[in-house]
């Protein structure tokens, strides 16, 4: 579930408030949004995808918060990886990140043919 919002990275664009499908965030005038309802997080990673500042971290444990160490997460290289590997925004021009979802059918075919 949503674990961390790095306030120093956040640009207060409030995309996470707008995009979260389970309404986890509250906007805060003049400040970064608040993770107001962590329990409502459905661990769908949409907020990370839509955060242009790579200021959000969603842990992959959907049952409980694990309070990860912010310094470790910052150093992990994980911030922004979903947005980058999806080829969004500033990554759109880099062919390395082209959308290859079409290959899903081939993966199934090759796997089931074994």
């Amino acid at each position: 579930m949503i674990e961390l919002l790095f306030e120093d990275l956040c640009t207060q664009c409030n995309e996470c408030v707008t995009k979260c499908p389970s309404n986890v965030f509250d906007s805060v005038p003049g400040a970064a949004p608040a993770i107001a309802r962590q329990d409502d997080c459905q661990t769908c990673y949409m907020c990370e995808m839509y955060c242009p500042a790579d200021a959000l971290f969603v842990g992959s444990d959907c049952e409980k918060p694990n309070a990860p160490d912010p310094a470790e997460i910052r150093a992990s290289g994980w911030l922004g990886e979903l947005r980058r590997n999806s080829g969004w925004d500033e990554w759109a021009a880099d062919p390395q990140y082209n959308n290859q979802i079409w290959y899903m059918g081939e993966v199934f075919k090759r796997g089931l043919a074994r």
Partner: protein, 513 residues
């Protein structure tokens, strides 16, 4: 309070809702969309990578024949042909908003799309047609006028105010029900549309076909199935668990999980697919890494996650080929509607369900727009149809909504009431759910959370009641006490009622075109 009028009100925010809004707006209607979450990120499509059932015209006869066989006498060829041709015609129209892939051979691939980009594109398409979107605005009840639909009302969660929208046509595209489990993107899919419609008298069909599961690393929501074609499964002692029977069916894992934890690795995935995976499905590998797991080397614990009525089959019964229900002006699209016509007794998987969601969205949108033009505005007095969780029959009493939801998940997704059910296990679970329903009806009053708890409980009661009445095994409905298919039950099971549920079996009669 926000008050508004529309020709067509679409309730929901996933792919069926978006295609319904497109269909209605392109037919000239003034459309408002209300979604509990946010159009573009809500629901099971946005977080996944849907494939669409996609068959060239010259191959359709064969594809439909094959699918009819899998449907085990509950499918209908005409509906299958209709969704194939509608999807073929419509999906490419998203090209201005979605960049379809080019495969290695240089051809455009329309059928497989990436969820976040697809739903982002659909939102842009909907907005470009002038549709007004209200995000974070769940519907709580439908409005009726002399038995016909007149609109809906609900809450705006971020503005903390009510909304009421009058419309002579309403499309329910609220999705299926994931029973509040970890299925990716399904947390807001609490069966709301089933309850909203049933309170106006609409029946449900196929609810017994809801024992559909998928694999996820334990404690995660990552229910995307693709990687598991390369899975090897192990028991706690490290012994390999071999699939028994059809390798596509997961029942052997449920049997293994009854005896203890099951582990998995993806060591058999070829290197070139591993390299490509982040750009096929960007959200798969991070889930492992963030728990310190290398899925290609390490054995990780897995869970079987219920797909409820989402990859199950059941939903609201439709009366016309335009997807109108028995309540005049009320339409259902996507997983809110029964998909027995196109999938029969087995899961449609992602592909048939996506083709259905797109097609039923377009059809209901067109028909709702036509109806609205004919009927004009819905003014004057209306009745509010909401009951459970909104208007308790007795003294309101404190009920823990989270605990109510947990009970539903426990009863409706346990292997004893899904894969391995019999009359005794279903009766036992229904006793718990019926008692909970009585508590809700008597005492639960509140807003969205109360209504979700009511809808989840109602949906679980429909699914398990239907399972108890179908005394055979057919497709994904299996009974330990009736292990074979009964020829006389090649019929649809129709459920009526919210408090008292009545079951009737009806012959499959194709709707005349």
């Amino acid at each position: 309070m926000l008050s508004a009028e529309a020709d067509v009100l679409v309730i929901g925010g996933g792919m069926a809702a978006a295609w319904a809004a497109v269909g209605a707006a392109r037919a000239g209607a003034r459309v408002i969309m209300v979604d509990k979450g946010a159009v573009g990120t809500s629901g099971v499509t946005a977080a996944a990578g849907p494939n669409h059932w996609w068959v060239a015209p010259e191959q359709r006869a064969q594809a439909v024949t094959q699918r009819l066989g899998q449907a085990l006498e509950l499918g209908e060829a005409s509906w299958m042909h209709r969704i194939l041709s509608q999807t073929w015609a419509t999906l490419p129209t998203l090209a201005g908003f979605y960049e379809f892939c080019i495969n290695d051979a240089g051809n455009v691939v329309y059928s497989s799309v990436r969820g976040p980009e697809y739903m982002r594109a659909l939102r842009q398409y909907v907005e470009s047609l002038g549709v007004r979107i209200l995000d974070h605005s769940p519907a709580l009840e439908l409005l009726l006028q002399r038995g016909a639909i007149a609109g809906a009302r609900g809450e705006r969660l971020q503005e903390r105010e009510a909304w009421e929208i009058r419309a002579p046509a309403v499309i329910l595209a609220t999705g299926g029900c994931g029973f509040h489990g970890p299925l990716l993107g399904s947390r807001t899919n609490t069966g709301d549309g089933y309850l909203l419609a049933a309170e106006t008298g609409v029946a449900l069909s196929g609810m017994e076909f809801s024992s559909q599961f998928t694999i996820a690393p334990a404690f995660s929501t990552m229910t995307r199935a693709m990687s598991y074609v390369y899975a090897t499964y192990y028991d706690a002692s490290g012994r390999v668990i071999e699939p028994s029977g059809d390798s596509q069916k997961l029942r052997f894992l449920a049997e293994a999980l009854l005896n203890g934890p099951v582990y998995c690795d993806l060591a058999r995935m070829p290197q070139d697919i591993r390299d490509r995976l982040p750009y096929i499905s960007p959200n798969v590998l991070p889930v492992f890494r963030r728990q310190g797991i290398d899925p290609f080397q390490d054995k990780f614990p897995i869970a079987l996650v219920s797909e409820g009525t989402i990859r199950g089959v059941g939903g609201l019964t439709l009366e016309t080929e335009d997807c109108e229900t028995s309540t005049p002006g009320l339409f259902a699209a996507g997983d809110a509607a029964s998909r027995e016509m196109v999938t029969g007794a087995v899961s449609g998987g992602g592909a048939v369900n996506s083709a259905w969601a797109l097609s039923s969205g377009i059809w209901s949108g067109h028909a709702a727009a036509r109806l609205a033009k004919r009927l004009g505005r819905r003014q004057g007095a209306v009745e509010r149809s909401g009951q459970a969780g909104l208007r308790p029959a007795g003294q309101p009493k404190p009920l823990d909504e989270a605990a109510l939801k947990t009970t539903v998940r426990a009863q409706a997704t346990d292997f004893s009431t899904t894969y391995f059910r019999d009359d005794a296990s279903l009766t036992q679970a229904l006793d718990v759910l019926d008692a909970q329903w009585a508590d809700i009806r008597t005492g639960l009053a509140g807003g969205l959370r109360a209504r979700e708890a009511a809808a989840l409980t109602a949906t679980a009661r429909w699914c398990l009641t239907a399972a108890r009445h179908r005394r055979e095994s057919r497709g994904i409905h299996t009974r330990e006490d009736f292990p074979t298919q009964a020829a006389y039950l090649a019929r649809r099971q129709i459920l009526r009622g919210v408090d008292h549920i009545e079951s009737n079996f009806a012959s499959v009669v194709e709707i005349a075109a």
